[in-house]
Structure formats: structure tokens, C-alpha cells
Symmetry: C2
Subunit: 345 residues, 2 copies
DNA sequence: TCAATGGAGTAATACGTATTAGTACGGTCG
DNA sequence: CGACCGTACTAATACGTATTACTCCATTGA
């Protein structure tokens, strides 16, 4: 059995074509450094490479510090969750589609695979550049990557590190404001906005949109925003709000959908009917497309975010492609839904 | 701005600790080759490494032909399909879970990303080993990998290359036979098995199971198997079969679910009710969990297949783990469902 | 005193490709 | 005839780590 036949390398081509390995490298690399080469030699090398079925070794290529056509995707949690409603999938689909279109492979650094965060995150260097998915930023590790010139793109707006992190996110401010304006247009003047306790730019943006729109409409801002992880959203709470004159609930949507689910449970438990008794809107799209009436709110263009992020990363890798803005917010199309109704006087 | 601060390498540690790079490599590598080292030196090196925040460069590690803790996943079509019902997802979820448990990262060579097949497939060498998903085998390319000693594992039984390809599949023969036996037990003696035209071991296995069980039960095998891509499954065809005395349909299930969908359409169009008029079973699980009664048949343990494949690949990478069978078939649990009813005499 | 032994670590090299500085050669010009 | 130039390459080296053969030194034994 001994040593299996190895795949051909540049040195083999060189031997066959009667030139040096360096020449082979120059020819196959498209001679981007402007070395003088005769056409005859070029053809001899190409022909030999073809005949031997040469394929560059990606590892060596990368070590010699050229490109690898490999994009990293880093997630802090499993990329293929089982029990959690899946918000990554459409993003990954977009990433894959665009990466394929650009001829790039993907390397997934998936949740909690190994070792400490630092070790794991530094492994991303195996790729030419890396996309990051997740609500939070390990500032020191990411800062280190950034400082060393390694190209990264976050999915989701980021304010950390003085806003130096390139990202592609959703314009939640406008989309959230639009939802509130829609409610106001339907006659609602007494709202509650349920926000998860977690701090993240995407949450802040939603809250800002809600507050702005409420202020613009001259609504009372007092008590408008309620921070909750869902556990205190009981039937009693909701009933009290309703007795208090609240006619509409706006709920933040995040990866887990915890607050949204809690709200639905509480509404059912309290016997409050949507949208007859109370209107309901979600800032985002509830995960898993639950049965029942379509919830009003807005769509998060996850797939397009994935695509745009790959394009941004590609342009960072190759400044020749033009230098697009390193921060990009995509508009989130409104979803009319069936859970907003006009207030009856 | 100049040259960004580089991440530390072994040479830096060596300088700090006052030893050679080779010594650093030996210490950090756990001294698996049995070099004589004093404990003091070992600690000095470890301490320096810690202080500098050293992390091995995965590319260089790989080039020096050691391990990389990187498993490849090769698919011939997009791994995150949008319109096609998704049979990859649970497999990928299983792969990810097991890979994470073993501290491995994943590199995805995803459908039609670049260049010719040969080029793409050779890129898998970037990983320590590679899983393949797909109904077919590009024999020459895979043979080449195999011959060169590169560890690969297919998901799905493979007969190509004299059965030398390691795989983890489903025991479709037994599962299919069990389904037919169930129908026979319910009094059915006149069946049709609808098989897709595509050739693949997983299809052959199902057919074999069906034929065997039919023969065992003494059913007429003539006309039992119908090859179709679904386009000729009209209402008229089904009505004719029924008039002919057919009381049960068994349908192959594949990635696309084409034949299954065609069957359902035709049944509806012909006004044939399931299971009152005709019993229906699917050899596998119809994609996307369609609404309506649960279809009888069997479950394909995709998630477990993913996990088992990773385990097999890991053991190929590290023969020390013991040498499990290179071919493994997982049992597919029966699904009772509601679409099989007893024949009324 | 010399050879043998064992301990501690290092020099050298391999891995496969990219890049850069330089060489060899033939011709041209003043 | 030597200085100079353009052409067509190649030698050398870098990239960062793993491995192996080897050196150097101190001690032991006869």
C-alpha cells in the first residue's frame, strides 16, 4: 500500500516543462507582478499543468499569503439550532448564495466548538475574511482582528469600537417608527412597547423608532416602554393594562422570540382577543411562522442581509471593486398583517 | 498606520523564553515525539506563550501536515436551499452538533461554488477529512482523494469504487420491507410502488425491500414497480389502477419529493380518498411536513446520520479511537401514520 | 583516562506557493 | 570596445509549524 500517489505540485510541472518552480508560479498566477515571459514558455507551462491535472494547494497558497477564496462565518451559538426558532437559516442561505456566485467557499466557525473564545476567534484567519453573526461583540478579540487588518463584517448594526466595525444591518428605526405610525393612523393613542432586557443596537434602534414616532404623534411617552424578559407578562398584567386604556401592544422580536411567545400566551390566558380587544404588532417577524392570523409588523430581510454582507466583505478583500460604505442598513418592508384594527370610539 | 501589530508566533515565544523555535513547537505540541525537556524550560515556554497570547496559525499547522481540527462538508447542491424542501438541514444540524462536541470546525464546500468539479473537490484537502452529501459520486475525483489516503465519509450508502467508500446510511431495505409487510398485514395484496427514475443506492435499496417483502408475502410482483418522474401520474392513471384492483400505493421519497407531490395531486384530482379508497405509504418522510393526516411510512434518522458520519470520520482521522466498520446503516423507525387502513373485503 | 550513557535542547529541513532581487545573454549605441 | 539596455528567466527567500537527526555537556563506570 505504501505511500499513495501524491497530487502534482508546481515543482512537477516545472520539471515537465523544463522551467523553474518560480516560473510555474508566475505563469499560473496570471503574472500579476509583470515578469517578462515568452508566450512559448507560458503555453508549455499551461499545457503541462493541464496534463498533470494540477490544482493549487489552498493551504500553501494561503500561507504564502495570497487569497484563498474562503470566507469565514462565525456564530456564537450553533448555526443549525434544533429547538430554537431559526433566524439564522435565511441569513445563511443568502450568504451561501452570494458566496457561491463569487466562487467562494465557506468555513463555519460554529457555536461553542472548542477552546476559549480567543483561540476560536483567531482561527478565523484561516479564511480570507469573516462574517460575524450574533447580538454581541467580544470587543477585545474582534478589535485585535480589526487592528491586524483582517477583514470582517458583522451582520447587524454595531456601535462598539467607535463604530469601526463594518456591518450590514436592518433599518429598524424607520421600520419601527412606521409600525407605530400605522397604529396611530388606526386611532391608537395608548400603547405599550415590550422590549427584551438585553442590550444590543438592534434593540436600541427599535426602541428609538418607537419613541420617535410616539413623540411625533404627540402620544404620552410615559410608561410607553416596558422592559421584560417575558416571565412577568401574566394575564393579570395585560388585563390591568387594558383596563388602563391600552389599545395596542408592540412587541420586540429577537432570535429567541421569548417575549413574543410570552405575550401570546398571556393574551390567550387573559381571554383578550386580537385584534378585536387589542391590536398587536411585532417589530420583526415572529419565528417559525406560527399558525393563526398573520401578525402585523415588518419583515427583516435576512436573506438579503446575508447577500449584502458577503458583497461588502468581498469589496473589503479587494479594494479594486470600489469602496462602498462600510456600514449599510437595509430597509425592512412593512407587513400589513391582520392584527391591527381601527380603534372604535 | 504602517504595519499592523502581528499576532505572536512561536519564534516570538522562543525569543522571550530564550530557547529555539523548535523547542517551543515541541513544548506546545505536548512533546508527543519524546524529546528530552526539563520541566523548567517547559514552564518558561508555556508562561511566555500565555503572556503573549499565542494562538497557532492554522494554515501553517496544516501545511506542516498535522491536524487542523477542521472537517469538510461537501455538497453538490446548495446546502441551504430556498425553494426545495429541506432534507439537508437536519443532517447538517447533526454534523454540527457532533463536530462541536469533538471541537472541530466545519468548512463547507457548497454547491456549484466555483470552477470545475475536480478543482472544487480537491479543495477539500484544506480540511483534515471530508463528509460528502448527495445522491451521486463523481467517481474519478473521489477515487483520487481516496487513493491518496484522504479520509472521506459519504452520507448515504455507496457501492461505487468497489465499495471502498466509507459511508453512513439508512437501512432502507429493512424499513421498506417493513412498510410493505404492514400493508400486507392490513390485507392489501395489490400494490403499486412508485419509484423515481434516478439511479442511486438509496433508491435501489427501497425497491429491493419492497420486492423482497412482496415476494415473501406471495404477492404478484408483475407490474409492482412503476418508474416515474411524476409527470405521467395523472388522475386517469390512478383511476385505472384502482379499477384494476390496486388498494395501496407506496411512494419513494427523495430530496425533491417530486413523485410524492405528483401522487398527492393526482389522488386529489381523481377524487380518490386516502385511506378510505386507497392506502398510501411513503418510504421516507415527505419533506416539509405537509398539512393533513400524517403519512404512514418510516422516518429517516437524518440528524443521527450526521452525527454518526462525523464520528466515523473522526475515527478515520485518528485510528487510535478504534476501528469501527467503515460502512454503517442506521435503522429507520417506522411511522404508523394515518394513511394505511385495512382492506374491507 | 577514556568510552559509554543519558539528559537537554537545537540546527536543519520539509510542507507548497508567492515574490523579489538578480543573473545571463544578446544586441545597440557612442 | 565597453557601457547600456531589454528580454527571459531563476535563485533565494518568506510564510509558520512539525519533525528528526544531531550536538554539546556532564556524569558514571572500569
Amino acid at each position: 500500500m505504501s505511500r499513495a500517489r501524491r497530487t502534482p505540485r508546481q515543482a512537477d510541472i516545472a520539471r515537465v516543462a523544463g522551467v523553474s518552480q518560480a516560473t510555474v508560479s508566475v505563469v499560473l498566477g496570471g503574472n500579476r507582478t509583470g515578469v517578462r515571459l515568452s508566450e512559448r514558455t507560458r503555453l508549455r507551462v499551461l499545457e503541462a499543468a493541464e496534463r498533470l491535472g494540477y490544482v493549487p494547494d489552498p493551504v500553501a497558497t494561503r500561507l504564502a499569503s495570497a487569497r484563498n477564496n474562503l470566507l469565514g462565518v462565525y456564530t456564537f451559538t450553533p448555526a443549525f439550532p434544533i429547538d430554537v426558532a431559526d433566524s439564522y437559516y435565511p441569513i445563511l442561505a443568502g450568504i451561501e448564495a452570494e458566496a457561491a456566485a463569487l466562487g467562494q467557499d465557506l468555513i463555519m466557525f460554529t457555536g461553542s466548538s472548542a477552546a476559549g473564545d480567543h483561540t476560536r476567534i483567531r482561527r478565523t484567519r484561516l479564511a480570507d475574511g469573516c462574517l460575524f453573526l450574533g447580538r454581541h461583540v467580544p470587543v477585545d478579540a474582534v478589535g485585535e482582528l480589526l487592528a491586524s487588518g483582517f477583514p470582517i463584517v458583522y451582520i447587524g448594526r454595531r456601535t462598539e469600537l467607535d463604530g469601526t466595525i463594518p456591518y450590514v444591518g436592518g433599518d429598524y428605526v424607520s421600520a419601527s417608527a412606521e409600525v407605530v405610525a400605522r397604529l396611530v393612523g388606526a386611532g391608537h393613542r395608548h400603547l405599550r412597547y415590550l422590549r427584551e432586557p438585553d442590550e444590543a443596537p438592534s434593540s436600541d434602534d427599535r426602541e428609538r423608532g418607537v419613541r420617535t414616532a410616539a413623540a411625533d404623534a404627540g402620544l404620552p411617552v410615559d410608561g410607553l416602554v416596558v422592559r421584560t424578559d417575558g416571565s412577568d407578562l401574566t394575564a393579570a398584567t395585560l388585563a390591568a393594562w387594558r383596563a388602563d386604556g391600552v389599545t395596542a401592544l408592540v412587541v420586540e422580536e429577537t432570535d429567541t422570540g421569548a417575549v413574543f411567545h410570552a405575550t401570546q400566551r398571556a393574551l390567550r390566558a387573559a381571554g383578550i382577543s386580537v385584534p378585536d380587544d387589542v391590536s398587536l404588532a411585532v417589530l420583526g417577524r415572529p419565528p417559525g411562522d406560527p399558525p393563526g392570523p398573520e401578525i402585523s409588523g415588518f419583515e427583516v430581510p435576512r436573506r438579503e442581509m446575508g447577500r449584502a454582507a458577503v458583497r461588502l466583505l468581498a469589496s473589503l478583500l479587494d479594494p479594486g471593486l470600489g469602496d462602498p460604505a462600510a456600514h449599510r442598513l437595509l430597509t425592512c418592508p412593512p407587513v400589513a398583517g391582520e392584527t391591527i384594527s381601527a380603534v372604535r370610539p
